[in-house]
C-alpha cells in the first residue's frame, strides 16, 4: 500500500530546501543565460509503480492552484547520468490526477489535489532490469513557454510479488474454496438433493432406444479445445454414456474436431468399457478425428448422421455456428437428440432442434449428476453458494449505489464500485 503521507511531507520539505540550493546559479545554468530563469517545481516524487511486473515509475506532485488552462506539464526521463532526456509524457494541467490512476481504495490513496503520472520506461528504453536507475524531471509550461522545472530525480523499478488491487478477487476465491472444501468434506454424511435434469434422465432412454433399433449413437463433443470447461464436462458425460453403451452392447461413434480432445476421449471411452466389463467391445475407431475446420467438420458429421441414421445424437460441449447444422440434420433423421452447451448464443438453436437441452451449468453438473459420486455432488453446493453471493451482492450493490447516488455520497459510491470491480 502506498501510504507515504509522512514521507511525502518530509520529501516536500527536503525538496524545498534543495530548491533553495538549486536556485543558486549552477555552472550549467550559465549556458542558458539568454533564457528567462524558470522557477523550481518542488515536491515531485518518483517511485516504482506498485503491483506490476516492473518497468514503470510513478511520479507524483501537488496540483498548483495557480495553473491556468494554458498550463501543460511534460515529464522527461533519461537512463544517463547527464543529458539524454526523452519526452515521456505531456498533458494538460487538469489531467492525470491521483483520481485517474485505476486502482481501488485499499491499494491507492490518490486524490484530485495531486498529479500522478505513470511512466512506462520499457516504451522508451527497451528491456529493463530490476534496480536499473533512471532519472526524471518535470517541466511546467505556459503556452509552450517553460515556467518551472523540477530538479532531476532518481528512481528504479522492481518486479512486484502481489497484485494488491486484486485483493477482492483473492478474498472471493478463498471464500469459494473454503465452502468447496467444507462441502466436499461433509459429502459422505448426508445425501444431497439435486433437482431432476430431464436431459440427463433421458440418456438411458436414448441408449435403450438405440439398442432396440440396432442403430448407432453419435456423441459430438463440439469444437472446443481441452482447456475449455465445457469440453472437460463433455468428457465426463462421454464416460458415463460410454459405460452405458458398453453395458447395453450398442455402438457409439465420437467424431472429433480437436486432436487433443480425441486423445483424452479415447482414454475415457476405453476406461468406461473396462469398467462396464466389456473391454473386448472397445474399438480404436469409436473416436475418430474429422477435421479442425469448423464447417468441414459440420459437413462431415452431417454426412455421417444422414447416412447412418443414428437412434440418438448427443451434442455436448462448445459449439458455434455449426450447432444448427448438426442438430437440424439429426432432427430430420428422427433421432432422439440431447444437447448441452455453455455457448449461450447457440442455446436457441438447440432448443428448437433438440428434444432436451442442458444450459451451461447443467452441463458442468452433469458429471456429478450421472456418476452419483457424493464428493462430486457436494461440490455443487459450492456452486450454489457462489450464486448466492452474487445474488446478494447484486441486490445490495444496486441498493447502496442508488442510495449513494441519491444522497450524493461520491466517496461511498466509489467504495462500493471499487469492491466489485475487476482490476
Amino acid at each position: 500500500m502506498i501510504k507515504h503521507k509522512v514521507f511525502l511531507t518530509l520529501f516536500l520539505s527536503l525538496s524545498a530546501v534543495c530548491g533553495l540550493f538549486a536556485a543558486k546559479p549552477a555552472p550549467a545554468a550559465k549556458k542558458a543565460a539568454s533564457l528567462p530563469p524558470a522557477a523550481v517545481l518542488g515536491g515531485v516524487t518518483a517511485a516504482d509503480m506498485p503491483y506490476d511486473v516492473g518497468g514503470a515509475v510513478l511520479l507524483r506532485w501537488a496540483v498548483n492552484p495557480s495553473d491556468t488552462p494554458a498550463t501543460t506539464y511534460t515529464v522527461y526521463a533519461s537512463s544517463l547520468q547527464a543529458g539524454g532526456w526523452v519526452e515521456a509524457e505531456s498533458f494538460a494541467s487538469t489531467a492525470k490526477t491521483g483520481k485517474d490512476i485505476d486502482l481501488p481504495f485499499w491499494a491507492w490513496d490518490g486524490s484530485a489535489s495531486e498529479h500522478a503520472v505513470k511512466i512506462e520506461l520499457t516504451n522508451f528504453f527497451g528491456e529493463i532490469k530490476d534496480g536499473d536507475v533512471f532519472h526524471f524531471k518535470v517541466a511546467a509550461l505556459e503556452n509552450g513557454k517553460l515556467v518551472a522545472e523540477s530538479l532531476p530525480l532518481d528512481a528504479s523499478t522492481t518486479s512486484n510479488w502481489f497484485r494488491l488491487d486484486r485483493l477482492n478477487n483473492v478474498v472471493m476465491l478463498l471464500l469459494v474454496t473454503i465452502v468447496f472444501f467444507w462441502a466436499v468434506s461433509h459429502a459422505k454424511r448426508k445425501g444431497l438433493f439435486i433437482r431432476r435434469i430431464a436431459g440427463l434422465d433421458a440418456i438411458d432412454e436414448a441408449i435403450g432406444r438405440a439398442t432396440e433399433m440396432g442403430k448407432p449413437i453419435y456423441y459430438v463433443p463440439g469444437i472446443g479445445d481441452m482447456t475449455m470447461v465445457s469440453t472437460i464436462a463433455s468428457t465426463f458425460i462421454l464416460g458415463e454414456v460410454a459405460k452405458k453403451v458398453a453395458q447395453y452392447d450398442t455402438t457409439i461413434k465420437v467424431p472429433h474436431y480437436n486432436p487433443v480432445v480425441m486423445t483424452v476421449s479415447k482414454e475415457v471411452v476405453k476406461q468406461a468399457f473396462l469398467e462396464a466389463g466389456r473391454p473386448d467391445s472397445f474399438r480404436e475407431d469409436i473416436n475418430q478425428f474429422i477435421s479442425s475446420d469448423q464447417f468441414s467438420y459440420a459437413a462431415s458429421v452431417d454426412g455421417m448422421i444422414s447416412r447412418e441414421k443414428p437412434a440418438a445424437c448427443f451434442f455436448m460441449g462448445y459449439f458455434m455456428a455449426e450447432s444448427l447444422l448438426l442438430a437440424e440434420v439429426g432432427a430430420t433423421t428422427g433421432a432422439i437428440q440431447i444437447a448441452g452447451t455453455d455457448s449461450e448464443s447457440q442455446l436457441p438453436f438447440f432448443f428448437t432442434a433438440c428434444d432436451y437441452t442442458l444450459i451451461g451449468e447443467e452441463l458442468y453438473a452433469a458429471g456429478a449428476y450421472l456418476s452419483k459420486d457424493p464428493m462430486l455432488q457436494s461440490a455443487l453446493k459450492a456452486q450454489d453458494f457462489g450464486k448466492l453471493v452474487v445474488m446478494i451482492s447484486v441486490a445490495l450493490g444496486v441498493i447502496l449505489t442508488a442510495v449513494g447516488a441519491l444522497m450524493k455520497w461520491g466517496a461511498f459510491t466509489q467504495t462500493i464500485a471499487d469492491l466489485f470491480k475487476a482490476y
Binding site: 511486473v53 486484486r166 478477487n169 478425428f289 447444422l325
Partner: protein
C-alpha cells in the same frame, strides 16, 4: 501402475493448476516467464496432437476403403481432398500469392476451399428460416413475448424493415432502432448476464474440482 496412471498426473495437475492460478495474482517477472513457458509447451503439445489426429483420420478411412464398408467411396474423397490442397501447397512453397498472381495453392484455396466452406455456412441461413417458421408459433404468453421481440428485431435489422415500420408504426413516435437497442441492451443483456454468471461460477468450481483431483474422469477412473 497406479503411480504412473494416477498419482503423477494428478500431482502435475495440482502443481501446475495452482501455479497458473497464482500468476493472476503475482505480477513478478518469474510469474510472467512461467506463463510464457507453459504456453509454449501447450503449443508444442497441440502441434504433436495434430499429427495424431491426421493418423486417426487416415487410419479410419483407409480401413473403410480396404474393407469396402458402406459409403467407402466418400472415404476416397478424404484422400483426394488432402492431395488437392497438399500438392499445390508444396509446389507453391506454402504461399497463396506470388506478387499479384495466385499460386497453385492460392488457386486451390480460392476456387476449392472458399466455395465449399461458404456453401456450408450459407446452408445455415436456410435452416434458420425453416426453423423460425416452425418455432415462432404463439402457443403461450411467453411465446407471444418471444414473437413480438423477434418481429421488432427482424424489422429493425434491415433498411426495408425500417421503411415498413415507419409506414405502419411511425405514428408512435418511436424509431425502430431505439426499440431494437432497448431490447438488445436491456432484457437481452440481463438474461445473458444471468447465464454468464452461472456459467462462470460453474467453471470456477469445475476448475477447483480438477485442480484438487476430485473430478478425474478425464484421466479414466481408478
Amino acid at each position: 501402475m497406479k503411480l504412473i496412471k494416477k498419482t503423477i498426473p494428478l500431482a502435475i495437475v495440482f502443481v501446475f493448476g495452482i501455479l497458473t492460478l497464482l500468476t493472476y495474482y503475482v505480477p513478478h517477472k518469474h510469474s510472467v516467464d512461467f506463463l510464457e513457458t507453459m504456453n509454449k509447451w501447450e503449443n508444442i503439445v497441440t502441434a504433436f496432437a495434430f499429427f495424431l489426429g491426421l493418423i486417426s483420420l487416415f487410419y479410419a478411412h483407409s480401413t473403410k476403403i480396404s474393407r469396402k464398408a458402406d459409403g467407402w467411396g466418400y472415404s476416397l474423397f478424404v484422400f483426394v481432398g488432402f492431395l488437392a490442397i497438399i500438392i499445390p501447397a508444396y509446389i507453391s512453397k506454402g504461399k497463396n500469392m506470388n506478387g499479384a498472381e495466385l499460386t497453385w495453392m492460392g488457386w486451390a484455396f480460392q476456387y476449392i476451399y472458399n466455395p465449399l466452406s461458404a456453401t456450408m455456412f450459407a446452408v445455415l441461413a436456410f435452416y434458420i428460416v425453416s426453423t423460425a417458421y416452425k418455432s415462432f408459433r404463439i402457443k403461450s404468453l411467453q411465446a407471444f413475448v418471444l414473437f413480438v421481440a423477434a418481429m421488432f428485431l427482424i424489422l429493425g435489422n434491415v433498411p426495408l424493415g425500417q421503411i415498413i415500420w415507419d409506414k405502419m408504426l411511425g405514428w408512435t413516435g418511436y424509431n425502430i432502432s431505439q426499440v431494437v437497442d432497448w431490447i438488445m441492451h436491456v432484457p437481452a443483456v440481463a438474461g445473458k448476464r444471468g447465464i454468464m454468471i452461472g456459467i462462470s461460477i460453474g467453471a470456477v468450481v469445475t476448475a477447483l474440482k480438477i485442480i484438487f483431483g476430485i473430478e478425474r474422469q478425464y484421466l479414466g477412473k481408478d
